[in-house]
């Protein structure tokens, strides 16, 4: 295995973190389990919104940011659940924890992998949405909001999903645990996306971006501090 992977440079922490990311991406590349299910689910959600909301031109303008984030949030829980359940079911989590590396490196590795999954879903959902509803979503501001919003989402989501897979209810529990605490991130993302799509003045968008960055920092820091307690046995 080692010969196949070019050894990444950097401190041991960064090396082991990148190794976890690499492992997740390689596993996903072979099975395509997580990304395909997230994608199909996301597209279905968009279709359902079409029927549920009667999206004519004016409604579309108002609702696009909200639909986009609901889709990403739902698809996100699916991906988070799957990525942790795979580790748990095949006993990989124990193997990872036995490895002589800092456990926060495992946390950040899993988070980055989840983040990449969410971003790839967004990368496919955006053009599809643009074509289906005839709105141009390729707006640098919106892309930045998606980058920031999904970071906060996976930061707390990775922590909570590693808790949820160790309980009896598993898949049902993650959204229940995640949605009440992730509201600041989702709300700020929706509002900032809405602002960018409407071409609002920067002074209107700024408070939301500030809140989004603050939430990202706080959630990442908290998850980083408590992750050790979630995986210790």
């Amino acid at each position: 295995m080692r010969t196949a992977v070019t050894r990444p440079a950097g401190t041991p922490f960064v090396r082991s973190m990148l190794a976890v990311v690499w492992k997740d991406l390689a596993a996903e590349w072979r099975s395509k389990e997580i990304l395909s299910s997230m994608l199909v689910f996301a597209l279905l959600v968009i279709l359902i919104f079409n029927f549920a909301l009667e999206l004519d031109a004016s409604a579309r303008r108002e609702a696009t940011a909200g639909i986009l984030w609901v889709t990403l949030a739902f698809a996100g829980t699916l991906g988070l659940n799957r990525s942790m359940a795979v580790e748990k079911d095949r006993g990989c989590l124990d193997g990872l924890l036995l490895a002589p590396v800092d456990r926060t490196a495992i946390y950040f590795g899993k988070s980055i992998a989840n983040w990449l999954f969410m971003l790839s879903v967004a990368l496919i959902v955006l053009p599809v949405y643009s074509i289906l509803y005839n709105v141009n979503l390729f707006n640098p501001g919106l892309l930045m909001v998606i980058l920031l919003g999904s970071e906060g989402y996976v930061a707390i989501g990775t922590l909570l999903s590693s808790m949820a897979v160790q309980t009896r209810m598993r898949d049902i529990l993650l959204p229940i645990l995640l949605f009440p605490v992730i509201i600041p991130v989702v709300l700020a993302s929706v509002k900032a996306s809405y602002g960018y799509l409407q071409g609002s003045a920067m002074t209107d968008i700024q408070p939301w971006i500030t809140l989004l960055v603050a939430s990202d920092l706080i959630f990442t820091a908290v998850a980083f501090m408590v992750f050790d307690y979630v995986v210790e046995e």
Binding site: I156, L159, L160, M163, Q166, T167, R168, M169, L173, I176, L177, P180, V181, I182, I183, P184, L187, A188, K191, P207, W208, L211, A214, S215, I218, F219, V222, A223, V226, Y229, V230, E232
Partner: protein
């Protein structure tokens, strides 16, 4: 099995007297508000219940941190007690607020920051109870509970600020007054005294309930252990 501590009995009696006095002050001593009438009297217990609820979640947050550091199961009992009591008081706060809002705002509910935050908080701690019920191993249950009580408590102010960026119509009776708030009023000295007294009475009620709940948790654990001893 430990008998009930004397101090707890004293606390029970003091709390009962304080609550009776608070009810007297709210209904008889405090003057009737001129514009809103009798429904304004909800305010005294509404704010006090909100205060006790926040206190409960704060206790759970601190107990969660202490548990993760010390790993002593008594902090887990404190944390669970805090969340349970917080849930009940926050629910009382939301319901009394709705009763007040119906005649004053002409609606049971509005998506105001405080209302929304209180509801999301209630849901987050309901999720906490579900998380606990899904784990059998007591040590892991305590660990996960502590982690979630910390995460939930930290997200509360963020949620509040995020919704606060919309304008609020909830009255701020103490401190600065927002001219856009609807249903605000100025307190007379008698109202202020009643309000302060309700806060004190609810704080005592909170302390008494917390102590009882912690003690109940301890007894529960003892019973479990005795059962296991009998079986083996």
């Amino acid at each position: 099995m430990a008998s009930k501590p004397r101090l707890l009995t004293v606390l029970d009696i003091v709390t009962a007297l304080l609550m009776a006095a608070a009810i007297y002050m709210v209904f008889i001593f405090a003057p009737m508000e001129r514009v809103m009438g009798a429904v304004q009297k909800v305010f005294y217990f509404h704010v006090a219940a909100g205060w006790a609820g926040m206190l409960g979640f704060f206790v759970a947050f601190v107990a969660g941190i202490v548990y993760l550091i010390t790993k002593q199961s008594r902090w887990d009992r404190v944390e669970l007690a805090g969340v349970e009591i917080g849930l009940v008081f926050m629910f009382i706060c939301i319901v009394t607020g709705s009763i007040w809002a119906r005649p004053i705002w002409n609606t049971w509910w509005t998506w105001d920051p405080r209302l929304t935050t209180a509801t999301i908080m209630e849901l987050a701690y309901a999720a906490y109870m579900m998380l606990r019920s899904g784990i059998e191993d007591p040590e892991r249950r305590a660990r996960f509970g502590a982690v979630y009580s910390i995460v939930a408590f930290i997200s509360v102010p963020l949620t509040f600020f995020s919704i606060r960026i919309f304008r609020t119509i909830h009255p701020v009776v103490i401190g600065s007054n927002d001219p856009t708030a609807q249903g605000t009023f100025n307190m007379t000295p008698a109202m202020g005294q009643t309000f302060a007294f309700s806060l004190i009475a609810f704080s005592f009620l909170f302390a008494a309930l917390l102590w009882h709940r912690i003690r109940l948790g301890k007894l529960q654990e003892d019973v479990e252990r005795l059962k296991l001893q009998l079986q083996s």
